[in-house]
Symmetry: C2
Subunit: 432 residues, 2 copies
């Protein structure tokens, strides 16, 4: 059985041995995945049996999803890319910080291996001050954004609200009548955007009865088994999600909210999220590369986790947000959208979800909003994917990674203080 | 069962009714394929049951292969595209010609509908003099090149020969020992390039025992049925092809030759045809868009027919060839390669294949070489795909189409005199 990103990623977690090989030992270029004609049998990555997302093969797969699954293009348009200004700094590698829960310090450079980084770009005051690639990711490659996808789709949703195409106070059923009898029918668009819906939906991969498995089976682009009687697309699955608890009370991070938002967006605009992302953002960003979404068997983009992009283009996206939605002389996202995200959401509702490393944070329009002064906000995808926009430090970090453990709680003890140390360092040591 | 392009395309031919709806009535935008969230059941295109390549759904599919199958990228690089100079001419639409076997004349504009054209670009003396799009193909879209792929891969093969990386006189088995016991083992690389191999391989789709079906099953990226015991990739299939007749005697157009060439290229260079096409040509062409190949279940690009590109980029490729391999200030393909193709191959060997509309032509390095003065040459893909390079007329035509009948013999009676009339007209009416 093949399952989508969120599910497989945690399968790797559930079944992997306690001790993983380190970044160098698991380097997908060094291991030679999919090299040769044909590649050796034990270095061949196939989608059909789900092994593509077992560590360490997964380290190749995250840079090559389109070779495994059908996808839909997010066109950058046909014009010239807008070059990023480059002002690389060699002093960054030596920045030192202490990982959470540790005693010994670690350098920035060491943090890259510790987080199984595939690629990282740092912008300070609009210039690229740091850029590195590892394994099989290259500047002209495309990497899975995982749940960073949610923040991109959330941005589209918030834009449509700001521009009057979506009413955040309306119930989902008004846009998608098929969801009337599901848990989502009575939720508002805002509750979906902030993931405060009350859903009977478990993402506990250790539980074979968890709803995430039905979601995965429905969304797989592979043909269904002959005896399969369940939902056959993301849209069909979403209609089966049942309510649990009250909407609007607590933040609960559940991928299906973003898939519902994608459906609402499609109904409100006549375009799916891939088409809309190209039209509203990607084609106006001076992107170097097209991006893409994985799709289910009827061409539905996986709004909850299917985006793949070039790393520098993700940096352009982050820098656009840092600049209040402006980039390359255009207002791409309304400034009010960025201000609203920076302002965060209900911290008490967020606290109920129990993220011990994210105290004082909140979740707004599918962005993780920190407790930092200036409203720094983050997109977070399993296995270490990140966009970090720190307006006060005038800094943007984008990182693609393939950490063996899906949950970001495994890399946050390194990631969070590393990002903070870099922000502080750049603030203190401004380049002229 | 899902089957690759060449196979499905002729299935459509075999099973379609005698009278097809015309271009307007079968327009995929008008019919609304894959529009809606979800699309209506009778407007949903799925890969798994093969219906995606039945007419008229096929008219959507040829512009959206990546939504149906896994694919591998052909990067254009990250720089600025090289703009094509535009000098559109309105006088072209009215050019008149008489289709072969007809009595009444037809205009150029009428020929577009008659050939179910999805997009067409004409360059004259390096400038775009004509550009039109129909149905769901847009300038920023990508369309299946079908067997035009062969000419692109053949160009790569001929380049490698010219540059000394491949020896055209060597036998295939020297590059791919796994093919030693197949029909290909004793054939030379040149015989493969010119398709004069003697193969027991039928592309007769009406015959359920034809080898093309085994080729199709092997190359499908979908999981194999449980009781399936045949080859599981293009490479595995190629090893099963048996000899018939002598090599070097007669031209016989068989897709597997190009798949073998792709394998030889991979062994000689360490890169598959997608990677090599990017490196040697696409990234040096100032292309607007990445291209892509469909792949089998182990990531092998379908060298015989899996390329998809933007139409203008195909025009750049054709214009580069017209200019003796130079484009945008670079020598991309050695001039000797183009001269060799223009010179054609053994016309007697070609005549044995019995193409009644192509008398005096030949087949060289996977290009169809006409009998025109100056060595005009053509890439031909089922359902009407074309690159036509006419050096004497200083003209390049690229066309993507979705004609209901796979075989080009169905559209050649319109296509061939239309292209000739345009060449003659442009020669007589040169723009200043």
């Amino acid at each position: 059985m093949a399952v989508p990103l969120v599910a497989m990623s945690s399968l790797a977690l559930a079944y992997a041995p306690a001790n993983f090989p380190d970044a160098q030992a698991s380097d997908p270029a060094r291991l030679g995945w999919m090299v040769g004609s044909p590649p050796p049998a034990d270095r061949t990555v196939r989608f059909e049996d789900g092994s593509y997302f077992q560590f360490p093969a997964m380290r190749w797969s995250v840079s090559n999803f389109r070779q495994l699954m059908p996808t839909i293009n997010v066109s950058r348009g046909l014009g010239a890319p807008v070059p990023l200004e480059i002002a690389l700094r060699k002093d960054i590698d030596g920045i030192s910080f202490v990982p959470l829960g540790a005693k010994a310090p670690m350098t920035w450079e060491q943090s890259l291996a510790a987080t199984y980084t595939d690629g990282i770009v740092v912008l300070h005051r609009g210039k690229v001050v740091y850029e590195r690639y590892f394994g099989v990711l290259k500047p002209d490659g495309q990497h899975a954004a995982m749940s960073v996808t949610k923040s991109v789709v959330g941005t589209l949703g918030a834009m449509l609200v700001a521009q009057g195409h979506l009413d955040a106070g309306k119930r989902v059923a008004e846009y998608v009548p098929e969801l009337t009898d599901s848990a989502f029918g009575g939720a508002t668009v805002r509750q979906v955007l902030d993931m405060t819906t009350g859903l009977k939906y478990s993402e506990d991969y250790a539980d074979p009865d968890a709803e995430v498995w039905a979601h995965a089976r429905a969304g797989s682009p592979l043909p269904k088994p002959k005896d399969y009687e369940g939902p056959r697309s993301y849209y069909e699955f979403l209609q089966t999600v049942q309510p649990q608890g009250e909407h609007g009370q607590a933040f609960a991070y559940k991928t299906v909210n973003t898939d519902v938002l994608g459906w609402v967006i499609a109904r409100a605009t006549g375009r799916n999220v891939a088409q809309l992302l190209s039209e509203k953002i990607w084609s106006r960003l001076g992107a170097e590369q097209d991006a893409y979404f994985t799709v289910d068997s009827i061409g539905t983009p996986f709004a909850g986790g299917g985006l793949n992009t070039g790393l520098r283009d993700l940096a352009r996206f982050g820098e656009m947000l840092r600049n209040g939605g402006r980039f390359s002389g255009q207002q791409i996202v309304p400034e009010a959208v960025i201000d609203d995200i920076r302002g965060g959401a209900d911290k008490q509702a967020f606290a109920k979800a129990g993220y011990t490393l994210l105290k004082g944070w909140s979740y707004r329009s599918m962005w993780w909003v920190t407790d930092k002064e200036g409203g720094a906000f983050m997109a977070r995808g399993v296995h270490g994917q990140r966009i970090y926009v720190d307006p006060k430090a005038e800094m943007v970090i984008v990182r693609y990674a393939s950490h063996p453990v899906a949950s970001n709680s495994a890399n946050d003890p390194v990631t969070l203080p590393a990002f903070d140390a870099l922000a502080e360092y750049l603030n203190r040591n401004k380049q002229q």
